[in-house]
């Protein structure tokens, strides 16, 4: 009989050789648990993320923008579906995963606990929030777990379209009337720091990071990805004439990166702990949809059963 130590070594050798881990392969329990946590959080983020953006579908200021926003939010629902399926490959049913969200046990990206107050927030979410998410997701296309990596390839294609449409909303606002430009700047002011928080705690304080890197679930650290995002986004803001709300932001000729200020980790911890502006509303909305939809799901199941019985008879 092969002992566990040996299985662990074989597993790690596979990872080191850049081979994908597939659902039927042996994997350490901790790897499985880590991935279930990460993929389900990711799935929940897609689904909860529909709420702040869905908030503006009925109010989009042109029919073209309304159509784009509908398509975008629909994409997010699709991403949720692939990712719930990826979790199922690890032996956890979609019902169980969703129950964990609804009971408050599972987490989702804290960014979606901030409110969308003006139309410009839809631009800021696409540009900054999707922009930050892409940094992580591009890396995840090469993650060690096969089903997750493959889901990410398609998700990344759509997210990059989302990012561009968000930036374009901001660009149009920034060159519009003074009120529009003010709306865009205000949205950037409110979404900038929460977007930087999306990369997670600093490397020194990230509880899951080291093991995730060894297993090649993650391939770049939180701080590395955050810096790439800042470097890119600062330039994009300059092009459209908006100002990043960080007085300490400065190009560093030596490092060839921007130096920047300090994240308010108290705010971050507060929102993660459930005290963000919309935590209660988001969870309440998901629970309401789930509860009010119960009879619909029951009817579908009952009808399918009747139909199968009739066919068998």
């Amino acid at each position: 009989m092969t002992d566990v130590k040996n299985l662990d070594d074989i597993f790690q050798a596979k990872i080191d050789a850049e081979q994908k881990i597939e659902p039927k392969d042996w994997m350490p329990d901790a790897y499985r648990k880590n991935l279930i946590r990460q993929i389900s959080q990711h799935a929940h983020s897609e689904v909860v993320g529909m709420l702040p953006e869905g908030n503006w579908i009925t109010r989009a200021p042109s029919l073209k923008r309304k159509a784009i926003l509908l398509a975008k939010v629909q994409d997010e629902a699709g991403h949720g579906l692939y990712l719930y399926s990826a979790v199922e490959t690890m032996g956890v049913s979609r019902e169980q995963t969703i129950d964990d969200l609804l009971s408050g046990k599972a987490k989702y990206s804290s960014i979606f606990n901030y409110p969308t107050l003006t139309w410009a927030d839809i631009g800021a979410i696409g540009w900054l929030v999707d922009g930050a998410a892409i940094m992580n997701q591009v890396m995840l296309c090469r993650t060690s777990y096969g089903p997750y990596a493959r889901a990410m390839v398609r998700i990344c294609k759509e997210e990059s379209f989302h990012q561009r449409q968000g930036y374009e909303i901001m660009a149009v606002l920034a060159k519009g009337s003074p009120e529009q430009k003010e709306m865009a700047q205000d949205a950037l002011n409110r979404w900038w720091w929460p977007s930087l928080m999306m990369f997670g705690p600093t490397d020194a304080n990230s509880p899951h990071s080291a093991q995730s890197m060894k297993w090649k679930i993650k391939r770049q650290s939180n701080d590395e990805l955050r810096q790439i995002f800042i470097d890119r986004t600062v330039q994009q803001a300059e092009v459209i004439g908006l100002t990043i709300p960080d007085p300490e932001l400065k190009w560093n000729e030596e490092t060839k990166h921007y130096d920047w200020g300090t994240i308010d980790w108290t705010e971050f911890n507060n929102v993660v702990a459930g005290n963000g502006p919309c935590n209660k509303e988001r969870l309440a909305a998901r629970n309401k949809a789930h509860n009010e939809g119960a009879w619909v799901r029951e009817a579908a199941v009952a009808y399918a059963a009747k139909k199968a019985k009739r066919k068998a008879a």
């Binding site: 109010r59 200021p61 042109s62 509908l70 398509a71 939010v73 629909q74 699709g78 939809g293």
Partner: protein
């Protein structure tokens, strides 16, 4: 009324039905009973919106006063909207939403199929794009009506209630007035009585399979085509138009 005026009004009616239904369906986004249905509802909203935009753009061209799709959608008031009242009814529960769509889909598909032969090339082309989507919409809503009717006791009850509530709004879909008469005479609009026959047949077939009862044709609501709406309409427009109206004349 000149034929151009009648064509403008007729095209606008087709557009307004779709625009307002799409607006209602958009309210569901993120709140559907299951993720797959969230996606399907959004798809429906998107298809209706796409068709509405083609029709509004065309209506603006026919009118010849330089009004764009956005101009027509965002800068008209309640009394100038010509959708039937069925479209503005609140979403209610999922049975009300699906019955509302089913009653519309069963009318929309044969209408689009008939419009393929319209003497107006632009309307025929728009119908050409819409037929495929309309076929899918009717299939999907019919399947839900059958699941509800022949599902659980609760779903049956909810579907029957929705049907009873909304039936009074179906007469408006088939109203004949001078605009429609003129359009039919010109070979632009199809014969609405034939559309009604097709609608009625579909409704009977689906309700029979769903074990639901077709409500009696009692009193039918009217007024939408003349811009006489329910009280819901003002709120729909307030929500839809407020940003655009608050910043007049800018690009988005």
């Amino acid at each position: 009324m000149s034929q151009n005026n009648a064509l403008f009004t007729y095209t606008l009616r087709l557009a307004d039905d779709l625009l307002i239904l799409s607006q209602r369906l958009g309210e569901w986004c993120g709140h559907g009973p299951i993720l797959e249905e969230d996606i399907a509802l959004t798809n429906r909203a998107l298809d209706h919106l796409g068709e509405a935009r083609n029709l509004l753009t065309y209506a603006g061209q026919v009118e010849g006063k330089g009004r764009s799709e956005d101009n027509l959608a965002y800068l008209r008031m309640e009394r100038q909207f010509t959708n039937v009242k069925l479209m503005e009814q609140p979403n209610g529960d999922y049975a009300h939403t699906m019955v509302r769509s089913f009653l519309f889909d069963a009318y929309h598909l044969p209408l689009m199929q008939a419009l393929l032969k319209s003497s107006d090339e632009q309307l025929a082309a728009i119908a050409g794009k819409a037929v495929k989507e309309a076929t899918y919409h009717l299939r999907a809503s019919s399947e839900w009506i059958i699941r509800f009717g022949d599902g659980t006791e609760e779903s049956h009850q909810r579907a029957q209630t929705a049907l009873d509530d909304l039936w009074t709004y179906t007469g408006e879909l088939f109203e004949i007035d001078p605009v429609l008469e003129e359009m039919t005479k010109a070979g632009i609009a199809p014969d609405i009585t034939a559309i009604k026959e097709s609608w009625s047949k579909t409704v009977d077939q689906v309700l029979a399979e769903a074990t639901l009862k077709r409500p009696a044709d009692a009193f039918m609501m009217t007024g939408g085509r003349k811009g006489l709406h329910s009280e819901h309409m003002g709120f729909i427009l307030a929500e839809m138009q407020h940003v655009t109206r608050a910043y007049p004349g800018v690009e988005w």
